[in-house]
């Protein structure tokens, strides 16, 4: 069973619909389970090449640059931030010039402290330079939000990078550094989603050290901590019978990284998946039967009941932890709404991470 965590962000499949629907306030999964006809197919055996693969793959339907960071300020108080850039092609085929370009871009940004959660989103069409990604020098931008490389940026580590985003009531600017190369997920970057052929290309950089300034309500605070970036692209990411997912990325105090999620199905069953990345950067899949994910407590946010506290156990790794959110109200009330916020955990292992809940 190799449904990979691409489904976690498969909602990106609906960007175009979302970008265009926001005026009507509509939400939806439009396009998620659409056929990939005319788009490039994800096949096994691809050799990743950097910096090229840091850049966009417009022949595939969807793609994202997804960054989360667990930070602390000078007083030791925890906080988290999210920066995500999504690309979706509205139509397959040769890239249109100017406004005729079929790419639509969407980005989300959020900051979370124990006492507040702020978020915002922006949309843009491709083709005119308002949003886009270049591989060398690395630059991913939309309006005045940007994740940008330097002359010194190493293609293997995709570091250092400078990150910025701003909204009416918050902004942030971070530098990200890493000394280990990016990690290919799945089978050397080929991440299978189902027996029916859904798959994605997928790699991560979970080893970023972050430092910078977080400003909420015009009060800047120096922050530092760890960050995790996911890069993923595909053309048909999701099965029609999947209702949502519960996803975690965990920075263990040992320096190891753990990514876990479970996919929920219409019939009420769910399937857990996991990936263990050692502190040295070696990655290993965890068998679904070896993962126990049990919701412990729910919080009511935006009229929904959300399982924000989780008991996690992986017997083969002698791991048993309780994950608690920094702020149970970390609801992303964006065009496509979901819960995403920082957490901390304790038990056999300690550490911090990010939790995402969709489809509630």
């Amino acid at each position: 069973m190799s449904v990979d965590r691409i489904s976690r962000r498969a909602f990106a499949g609906g960007i175009a619909a979302l970008a265009l629907a926001r005026q009507a306030g509509a939400q939806g999964y439009a396009g998620l389970g659409e056929k990939a006809d005319g788009f490039a197919k994800v096949t096994p055996g691809k050799l990743f090449a950097f910096p090229g693969d840091h850049g966009p793959h417009p022949e595939f339907r969807i793609e994202w640059w997804y960054l989360t960071a667990n930070l602390v300020d000078f007083s030791g108080a925890a906080c988290g931030l999210q920066w995500t850039l999504f690309r979706q092609a509205a139509q397959p085929g040769p890239q249109g010039e100017g406004w005729a370009n079929q790419q639509v871009w969407m980005a989300h940004a959020a900051v979370t402290r124990a006492d507040t959660h702020r978020f915002t989103e922006v949309f843009s069409r491709g083709g005119v330079g308002q949003a886009g990604v270049t591989a060398k020098p690395f630059d991913a931008w939309i309006d005045d939000w940007e994740l940008k490389g330097f002359d010194s940026t190493d293609d293997r580590t995709l570091a250092p990078l400078a990150l910025k985003a701003s909204s009416t009531d918050f902004s942030y600017a971070l530098t990200l550094e890493a000394d280990r190369p990016v990690v290919l997920q799945g089978d050397r970057g080929y991440s299978r989603k189902s027996e029916r052929g859904q798959a994605s290309y997928y790699y991560s950089q979970p080893f970023y050290r972050a430092r910078g300034t977080l400003t909420i309500d015009d009060k800047p605070v120096d922050v530092s901590g760890q960050a995790w970036m996911d890069r993923e692209w595909s053309s048909q990411p999701l099965d029609a019978d999947q209702t949502g997912w519960d996803w975690l990325s965990l920075h263990l105090a040992s320096g190891d990284k753990l990514m876990l999620y479970r996919l929920r199905q219409k019939d009420g069953r769910d399937y857990p998946f996991g990936n263990w990345i050692s502190a040295a950067g070696e990655t290993q899949m965890i068998a679904g039967g070896d993962i126990q994910m049990v919701p412990k407590a729910t919080a009511e946010v935006a009229g929904r009941k959300l399982p924000v506290e989780w008991q996690i156990a992986i017997p083969s790794r002698s791991l048993s932890i309780l994950c608690k959110p920094l702020n149970p109200k970390a609801w992303m009330g964006t065009g496509f709404s979901y819960w995403e916020g920082p957490l901390s955990f304790a038990g056999t292992h300690d550490g911090v991470g990010y939790l995402e809940l969709t489809g509630y």
């Binding site: 265009l20 005026q23 439009a30 100017g98 005729a100 843009s124 309006d143 902004s171």
Partner: protein
């Protein structure tokens, strides 16, 4: 409760016996509500249309960035601003010809379009995908679709051969606009990577200073709550409202007299009710309830009538607004619920106000005292003095407005003061006249005639005031319309100098047509013109290019001109200015005006001022060659021809055949003139219709007043009958009396009406439209109006007089038997 119902039943029984009176009361309320609501419905419809236009994807309601010369600018500036945090959205605008019609093409970018843009049309998710993705969509208002005579989904070609994306109807879109994706607009208008305006949304963060991003290439234009269109059309709507208000008040006069009469007649009934034990509070409450119920019923009927009045007038109003201001108003009336509530509300409020005096009297009535016969004379004198003082005060306000008022509102204020003052002073003037008559009279009957007329005055004065106002407005408006009509026709004769007009679809066709015309022996001269748009001091200004030809020198009318004006136009450094623009910019002959042109500012000496009736835009006329030098983009598609009369039909036929030109693209002078006159006539159709309505309502007011008086005056007439004056003789005296006061009122209305006309022409028109017309008086028209007024009065007086002539002697005898 039962008791209240019984009281109500008793009160209502009065109406069963006085059906005419009941009808009068209802007619008054219905007339008041109908005209007022009709006018309000039209105004509301128009305002909604302006809102639609203003809100269409960032009209004047949105802050925006534009290039200083109002030209398009590179899209690159848009990207720069977005990347500096500016929440801007690009639009590109231009005009295209579709099926022979010129329409505004608006390219928008739906993804960044500010969400908070007023009531901009909204698109659902799937709709927007198909709007953006090829082949895209062309959004149009339902009116535009039917104007184009196309079906939804049709892909219509524009004049340059390119095809519009399939048409789709968006119900709340402004008419006359085609909305497409910005990329499509850039292609259709052949302006790749160009943008006309950037709409500014709510900032998400603190954007960098504008100048630090784009230098001085763009400037910010703040949103205006009131659009240009609203500003221009305000006067028109004020005009309509004024008419509506006038009709409303005249209607209330009717209600007032009907309620007054009913009260007089029900006095014994009220006394009986009180004597039977109904408390004063109960009786009064029931009186008010009865009135409100009547107002409710009449209000509803009035609203329905108002709806029909509005529906009938709307097409004319729409034509007027389109002709005068280029405003597009849908011809289908749509009303909001507020309109119905407001209409009912105003009907009830009006009824209560009109009945106040009667109700107060009822409340204060002692139970057992009989009604005192009116001490006419004493009360009347005090009342006349007070009213005359009020009139003087109102005149003083009018004088102040004349001296110091600058705005259009002040102009209307002056008009209102003039009419109100005249109405207030009317009874005093009539009293003086009748007093003089009484002094001159010798014979007893004549003496009685004059004295009785004076006594009648307070009862009749409201109706006479209504008649005075209606007549004065009639005189004023007719004079203005007639003046305008004559001036306009003369002006049109001069302005339409060429014999045939051609509008080529593009420059290429223009050149082809000119070449073809050169070969024709029946064409005496080809006059090529041009038109360009620019902005001067923030005002949209049209530049009209005229060729240098003797025909224009001879016929083109100028209001004022410097010596050698036409010759000075030729080198290209001088211009004529339209009258309205000269007023707006406060420019006179000899002044210099700077016009932003693509190559830099163009300085023009003003050497002439000309009338440009009916053009909402300010206009400057320059030499056409100079215009093309300064504005190289000017389409050279306008061609005028001088042709001998007998050759015109043949030439037009040949042109149509050769170049596939439709009726809109080639026309002879007579057709253009007829079309202009048709638009002109429709423009004033509304004014005339409302005018007639108002006069009609005034007639009803007079009629009901006389009816009321006739009934209450039996005690005065009975003694005369008793001493031997026959009923027909009495009736003749009554008729003479009515006609003489009506005649006097009508005669007074003539100078008042001329004053009103002067106000309209010299103050209101100038402020509203920017043109001043020469003032003419049309004596025949005045005589006609006075005659109409007299006939109306006579008809109004006839029924009461006939009733008097036929009255059963028994009724007259009853006067002596009854208490009153």
């Amino acid at each position: 409760m039962r008791r209240a119902l019984w009281v109500l039943a008793v009160l209502l029984s009065h109406w069963r016996r006085h059906k005419m009176q009941f009808a009068t009361l209802l007619v008054g309320l219905i007339a008041a509500t109908a005209l007022w609501s009709g006018v309000q419905a039209i105004n509301q419809q128009a305002r909604t249309a302006y809102d639609r236009a203003a809100a269409t994807f960032g009209g004047a309601r949105t802050a925006m960035l534009v290039a200083p010369d109002a030209a398009t600018f590179p899209q690159e500036l848009y990207v720069k601003l977005r990347r500096a945090g500016w929440p801007v959205s690009p639009t590109l605008e231009g005009r295209v010809q579709v099926n022979g019609r010129s329409l505004r093409l608006l390219g928008i970018e739906p993804v960044t379009l500010p969400v908070e843009i007023g009531n901009a049309p909204r698109l659902g998710a799937s709709d927007l995908s198909s709007f953006v993705a090829p082949p895209g969509q062309t959004l149009v208002a339902p009116e535009t679709l039917s104007d184009l005579q196309e079906a939804e989904g049709a892909s219509v070609p524009i004049s340059n051969g390119a095809k519009l994306p399939p048409l789709r109807v968006l119900p709340h879109l402004a008419p006359g606009v085609l909305v497409v994706d910005i990329g499509v607009a850039q292609r259709l208008l052949n302006k790749p990577d160009q943008v006309s305006r950037l709409l500014i949304g709510q900032p998400k963060s603190k954007p960098a200073a504008l100048a630090s991003v784009v230098g001085d290439q763009l400037q910010r234009v703040e949103p205006t709550a009131e659009t240009e269109l609203e500003r221009l059309t305000d006067s028109f709507h004020l005009n309509l409202t004024a008419f509506g208000l006038l009709s409303f008040f005249v209607g209330l006069f009717i209600v007032n007299s009907a309620v007054g009469l009913a009260f007089e007649q029900r006095l014994p009934m009220l006394r009986t009710l009180r004597a039977c034990g109904a408390s004063a509070r109960l009786v009064n409450t029931v009186l008010v309830v009865e009135l409100v119920a009547l107002a409710l019923v009449a209000g509803l009927i009035g609203l329905v009538c108002g709806y029909f009045i509005a529906a009938v007038l709307l097409s004319d109003v729409a034509a007027s607004l389109r002709g005068l201001y280029g405003a597009q108003i849908p011809g289908q009336l749509s009303l909001r619920p507020e309109w119905w509530f407001a209409g009912i509300g105003i009907s009830i409020a009006g009824a209560l106000v009109a009945a106040t005096t009667s109700l107060i009297k009822a409340i204060r009535m002692p139970v057992l005292t009989t009604a005192q016969p009116r001490a006419w004379q004493q009360r009347q004198r005090r009342w006349l003095v007070l009213q005359s003082l009020a009139a003087c005060a109102v005149f003083a306000v009018g004088l102040l407005l004349l001296g110091y008022g600058q705005s259009l509102i002040a102009g209307f204020g002056l008009l209102a003061a003039l009419m109100l003052g005249a109405a207030l002073i009317l009874p005093a003037l009539l009293e003086l006249l009748l007093l003089a008559g009484q002094r001159a009279a010798r014979r007893p009957l004549a003496l009685w005639f004059w004295a009785d007329s004076r006594q009648q005055l307070s009862g009749l004065s409201l109706a006479l005031m209504a008649l005075l106002l209606a007549l004065a407005v009639n005189v004023g408006v007719s004079t203005m319309v007639e003046t305008f009509s004559r001036t306009f026709l003369g002006w049109l004769d001069g302005r339409l100098a060429a014999d045939v007009y051609i509008n080529a679809s593009d420059n290429g066709q223009g050149v082809a047509i000119r070449n073809w015309l050169k070969e024709r022996s029946d064409v005496q001269a080809v006059l090529s013109g041009g038109r360009a748009d620019t902005q001067v001091q923030g005002q949209p200004v049209e530049l009209l290019g005229l060729p240098d030809h003797a025909l224009y020198r001879e016929r083109w009318p100028l209001l004022e001109a410097a010596p050698q004006a036409w010759t000075r136009l030729v080198p290209g450094n001088a211009a004529f200015i339209s009258e309205q623009l000269s007023r707006r910019l406060n420019v006179r002959i000899g002044d210099v005006i700077e016009v932003p042109a693509p190559g830099g500012n163009w300085e023009l000496d003003i050497v002439g001022i000309y009338a440009d009736y009916g053009n909402p835009k300010g206009q400057l006329t320059v030499n056409v060659a100079a215009l093309i030098r300064q504005f190289p983009q000017t389409p050279q598609t306008r061609i005028g021809l001088i042709v001998a009369k007998e050759n015109i039909p043949g030439l037009i036929g040949a042109l149509q055949k050769q170049f596939a030109l439709d009726d809109r693209s080639v026309a002879d002078q007579a057709t253009v003139k007829a079309e202009s006159i048709r638009i002109f006539n429709r423009t004033f159709a509304v004014t005339s219709a409302l005018n007639a309505f108002t006069l009609g309502v005034a007639g009803i007011a007079l009629f009901t007043s006389l009816l009321t008086l006739a009934n209450s005056r039996l005690p005065q007439l009975a003694p005369l009958w008793a001493i031997g004056i026959t009923r027909p003789h009495l009736a003749a005296i009554e008729l003479t009396k009515t006609l003489s006061v009506a005649l006097f009122t009508a005669l007074l209305a003539v100078p008042l009406g001329l004053l009103v006309a002067w106000c309209l022409i010299a103050i209101v028109n100038v402020k509203a439209f920017g043109w001043r017309l020469p003032f003419h008086i049309f004596p025949l028209q005045l005589v006609e109006l006075v005659a109409v007024a007299l006939v109306a009065s006579m008809l109004a007086a006839l029924l009461p007089v006939i009733r008097l002539a036929r009255m059963q002697p028994a009724n007259l005898v009853k006067v002596f038997a009854n208490e009153r």
